[in-house]
Symmetry: C2
Subunit: 164 residues, 2 copies
Amino acid sequence: MEHDARGRAFSELLVEVFRLNGLLIAAGDELVRPVGLTSARWQVLGVVDHGPRGVSEIARTMGLARQSVRETAEALARDGLVVFQANPRHRRAKLVAITEAGRAALAYAEEQQVQWANRTAAASTLRSLQGAVATLRGLSGRLDDLGGEADGDAAGSAARAPAP
Amino acid sequence: MEHDARGRAFSELLVEVFRLNGLLIAAGDELVRPVGLTSARWQVLGVVDHGPRGVSEIARTMGLARQSVRETAEALARDGLVVFQANPRHRRAKLVAITEAGRAALAYAEEQQVQWANRTAAASTLRSLQGAVATLRGLSGRLDDLGGEADGDAAGSAARAPAP
DNA sequence: CGTGAGTTGACAGGCCCCTGTCAACTCGCC
DNA sequence: GGCGAGTTGACAGGGGCCTGTCAACTCACG
């Protein structure tokens, strides 16, 4: 069997998504390196900035596995950007809370992100960006339906936080 | 500072790229699991299908670090999908060559990919897919320029192979 | 022919994400 | 009050990607 026209365009899109994903993560890491963050830690920090959260709650918000967030949270704690604090509602499940240092790092990161986003997007038209968003959302939705449906911890979807 | 209109749309696009990237890798892994492949191994297999290649040459083709490809190649060799063969042009740098089992796995993978791509793309219009490709290519190009330029092993760009 | 620059394989160490498993904990339902 | 279902933290192990470093190797240039 061969690709039809849309199948072919879709396959080209895949390649671009993979490439762009890699470049975006690299750019994000670069952006926040000065304050000792990475893209992953930044996202977690962005979630707990809205208030203390349990690890597993954060994972659900980000669409990741509990364990992934746990590792990231521990790294953030080692760096003093968050602290684990007692949870009145659950003895074992401590809450991840942002510290002053964490808030400062996050503020820096978000300021950098805004400038970088504006700069990078300047060469594209608003229409093309919005069009791409809509197309990608459509595909994500389709993959969510046809694909996943696993009964694991982290389902699909969820509203990823700050966005590097 | 705040996002301007395009900066905002771009930031939304980021989120979609991350999400879609994750879903695509998951879908690709799912697709080729029956023959013991993963997305990464599949891509390497796709490169060596065109003839034996050195690890470092493959890495350059795929835009990855040498070490990453080395690990993948060793996993493929353990599974008997490739073999390392002597290189007449370099005593240390053995060539990665696909085996019959590898060819069979690759054929299966590519057949699955075609069907899956056609099926997944069916709900989108050709225009929107092509538009998204163009937009993403533009952004990748921009990030390649402004961002990278590191002097490491794997530069940016390169023409990724089969495409899960 | 010999030497130095560049390429390559290999090892060490890190980051990020995942699954599987088990024990501790909470909470609703009987 | 107690039991079971669901949630959670924690440990183990794995895949995939990266940088840094060193030694072996090739090749062109002098």
